[in-house]
Symmetry: D2
Subunit: 357 residues, 4 copies
């Protein structure tokens, strides 16, 4: 089968393999015939062999961890699933026995194995996953090009869920990349009082404005470019929100955005930190003034709750949560280099790949 | 001035007084010129001198506790308010010193005085309230006929807020009277997975169906009449919600509805109890099976949080929460007997009265 | 091997079987050599063939679901456990796939199988359990006669955990049977402001007083017998707690105790309902006054959280939580009829059985 | 009267004034005759005119904000208090009208005035406070030398309360100064699984060891000096707590302690940040690895909840929470220079001053 692998531990080593052996599911596993898969930010870090992810991978390995498809083969002992079931899967594979798992927090399992990093991923015609990780999809609600990136939508929903509440509150989405754009849509859907978006890349800003224009005033949206607005931006947002926002969803990982996030929060507010800074160290200015004395809550966000997040995400899609605009490009899997380049240039939000094309 | 008072402690004793002295605000109080006021379920209990409220009132007293209007006179020491400010007010007047108030739970103050019961209410041309109870309204967002029943909308929002979450969950609204209808609108607005409505009065059922039809499929709504569906209704709702609903908002107080509410809840679910049974005792069938073994949470709901509920309610209105359909009748205050009759016959949802007409 | 079975579906049908075949663990299961086991209230319901449990059991079945012992045989595929490991086990065996399990609420699994009811229990020399249900014990912290009733201690700890907090709050334990006595000890340990105990059985009252006397004033304890104090009891407790208690742990299931529990709660308080009424219906007096208008929270409690409750319980024992006094009798397993009689007469708290004696 | 004032805006400008005019309470205020007062860390910052506090003070002003005493004069309109009532007071004076206050979060009021900084404090024979800020004390439970530092004990209790739970969890107290020492005592009292203490000052370490020795093994305590243990300390604590602690109470503000606090937390853990770094900027190493990927929660802590914290604190004292060892020195108020020096050298925990001596 065809698959995209990191062939060697270095940037530029991602290649399309033409004749990889189709994997066989072990006991308790299933093989899924991949219909659509999507490129995630993590895939780009792997593709460029960034230090933040390089240590987690031993090439050669098939990359990719967002997909949907149909069950093709059932391993021994698998119950409750049938051939041709339409599915996606949680690609964090957890131990079930560590202190986190035993406490019901599988998403922070001590021994998480991530498909596409620690084991074979889904940029391939077929992928094998544990049956316990499968999530059933309804094709009437989730078409394949949307089903291809539920892992990422789950990140967005989990970030939103981790705030103590959204309805009736001023929410800021910091960073309007693909996951930030999904988070913005969820925030609108769950009844926030207002939505503020900050972003620096022109393409993302343009897409944010276009999306906001299409909302027909359903929610007050203000969009800011800190690069052009400068230090006044924080004060402007504070004034527009009667003293500051209640919730920041920090999806960018950019240090200035993290600092601005703390600054724009009203006392008692909370910041959900999904974005990952590229440097390992982070310097926080005016830490006492902006964090301690304001009694803020800051929370690190990882993955998705298994499977409460999946359940909420699917119900939002069923209700009509619109994420169609997130998909800016659909390419055959063989064009993945083009997809990576589009994302690197900020010209794409979500690039969906088709391994059957 | 004109005002509606209970003249004597008996049913039929509500009268329109023509020349009541205009009240003077004391220190820390303001006088408001009432623009619109609305009839609440409690007013009907008073009007009919039902035992549940009779013990709380010593006639003669001006009734009514939902209104909006403009500030007319400021008492001594009032700061932060100006003449002609457009306002509504929380009509629960709390002590600030009891254990509940000190713990930040003013809505369950031990010594709550309710305007319209314990002291003069707002079915009048002028009403006096403590300045600390005022809530500022924006006329562009809250027109007077909506501002007239924010107290009731606050009940609905507080009931919804008291559930641990709404987004992505199956929610049942038990009873589609005025407050139930508002709660249904809020539930749709905050992203519930599905909405189930139960109601027995034909007029209310018809209004529920008409409202649901106007949603254009934004949320799956199913409407049930337990009187015609009989005991199968519970099982039907369970099946439609994959085992049961997550949240019941019990707005009716009818014992069969309360029991059905427990029965349709999925294990771990929660029921918010705003509805008040007319009898003082309540019998629960299969208590262990339907409540304990399912690990349910049941919560009594009273009033509105001061002022977190007001803040959320106003932001929902600003976002476009539509409660226009709740107002079925607008009458001059002098026609209050007609309004009561409409409500008694289930022909009205919210009757707004105009003391200036 | 020896085991106690319900031989037929009727009261009086519990017998000691002398030569039952020793069970063989299947894949993923282990066999444990039982060292000590204890009689639970549920076992008494089974023994007397009470309607509340009769429908769940198909005799003949080995009863009992509280025990500790040593691993004797490992089934296929079991990892992380060794022969002679000292263990207890969660005896609720859950499906892992239903909506509750998927949401992390295994203790309310739709398809729970309880060992000792739905499948063979631990009143036997050997018991087979799924490896995933095992809990490792440290013999220096948990001697066998304490390890024999961790399932029940887990009920007590789960009930306490389900309250929003204990430290600094007035707590009432309603019913001082074995689990009530354990809950009282936990409440003292976790820093409650005061402890109130209500109980009607003379033996239990005496044990409560003896236990309280041994606390050397570490916590204000007041013990009440509603049978002798009559209707004034509620008012007396309210006055002693400045208006009412914050938390009621209802362990008795007696309807008058449930009603008194609601009555003594201060507004905003919460009642945890572990006790199971013997009748299927429950009548609540003054429901609006005592529940709705006070904004109470009432929660059904079932089992123990897997495995957060086990973790907290073991840490409390390690810290020195003293439950030694709960064990009033230790008998050879063959004397189980005597143990049941002691419990029926209220002369015992916890009866530990030794199948090796 | 005598009082200690900052005479000028500079270090060394604190002086004992001999004949300051006794203040007169305005409407709604009371005057208290100070019996004991205590030196807080903030007072030392003021004394040394540290930049972190200098901007908040306009000399001359009487400093000090921890005290107890007896009511001496009632201002106009004060109800519910009598002459000679034994009291302490919350010294954060809040507006009651800002968004925080309206939401029930008075401790993070936008317009907080702190007595001893923004207005006259309690290092004096008499102090005037708003009646609404008074807290009644029972002299049998709270002797004056303990009542003198309830503001600080409130900081400790509020920090503990802000964690989602303490019972059954591994807790680390970072910094064993006066407030850290109080927090440690509360953590033991509320049933933590284990207590780990980190501290660098020899005197504080010695006091920590002495206190721990007096606990008679009631809780496993381990005490660490990062200065001597070096980078292995984190790994040692992780191993002793099966992977990391659940809760860090960060009371020191020292950047290395903050970083170690994040590092020793188990995934899903939480850090309460009361300690204030002396520099305005804080650099966090391995931010993604130690914070985001572990899904931690970090919370800024300010002041005390009004008045839930006071209520819990007084109930802990009534239960027997022992904080006697916190008071290392009792001096006449005129010896305040000596007290400051003792604290600067780390030779004292709490220095109580007596203005009547």
């Amino acid at each position: 089968m065809q698959a995209i692998q990191m062939a060697r531990p270095e940037a530029g080593a991602a290649v399309l393999i033409e004749n990889l052996e189709v994997p066989t599911p072990g006991p308790g596993e299933v093989r899924v015939r991949v219909q659509n898969t999507a490129i995630c930010g993590t895939d780009r870090h792997i593709y460029h062999w960034d230090p933040s992810v390089a240590s987690m991978i031993t090439p050669p390995v098939t990359i990719g961890h967002e997909f949907c498809g149909h069950i093709d083969t059932l391993g021994d002992g698998v119950e409750g699933w049938n051939l041709e079931d339409y599915v996606s899967a949680e690609m964090h594979i957890v131990c079930g026995r560590c202190r986190s798992c035993q406490a019901g927090n599988k998403h922070i399992c001590e021994k998480t194995q991530i498909a596409g990093l620690h084991r074979a991923g889904c940029f391939a015609e077929y992928v094998v996953v544990p049956a316990g990780n499968l999530v059933r999809l309804d094709p009437k609600i989730v078409p394949p090009h949307i089903g291809s990136f539920l892992d990422a939508l789950g990140n967005a929903v989990h970030t939103v869920q981790s705030a103590s509440s959204i309805a009736g509150r001023h929410v800021l989405v910091s960073g309007y990349g693909a996951i930030g754009a999904m988070a913005a849509a969820v925030v609108e859907f769950e009844g926030a009082k207002s939505l503020t978006i900050t972003e620096v890349m022109p393409g993302h800003l343009e897409r944010a404005k276009k999306w906001a224009a299409g909302l027909n005033g359903r929610i007050p949206v203000s969009i800011h470019d800190p690069a052009t607005e400068g230090p006044d931006m924080v004060e402007r947002i504070r004034q527009a929100t009667r003293g500051g926002v209640d919730v920041v969803l920090e999806m960018s990982g950019a240090p200035p955005a993290i600092l601005a996030g703390l600054e724009v929060l009203y006392p008692g507010g909370e910041m959900m930190q999904l974005g990952i800074p590229s440097a390992s160290n982070l310097e926080i200015q005016n830490f006492a003034q902006e964090f301690i004395f304001k009694g803020l809550t800051w929370r690190g966000i990882l993955g998705r709750r298994m499977f409460a997040t999946w359940d909420e995400m699917l119900s939002l899609l069923q209700r009509g949560l619109d994420v169609e605009h997130i998909v800016t490009h659909r390419l055959p899997m063989s064009s993945f280099h083009d997809g990576m380049a589009l994302l690197d240039r900020g010209e794409a939000h979500k690039v969906v790949l088709d391994p059957t094309a």
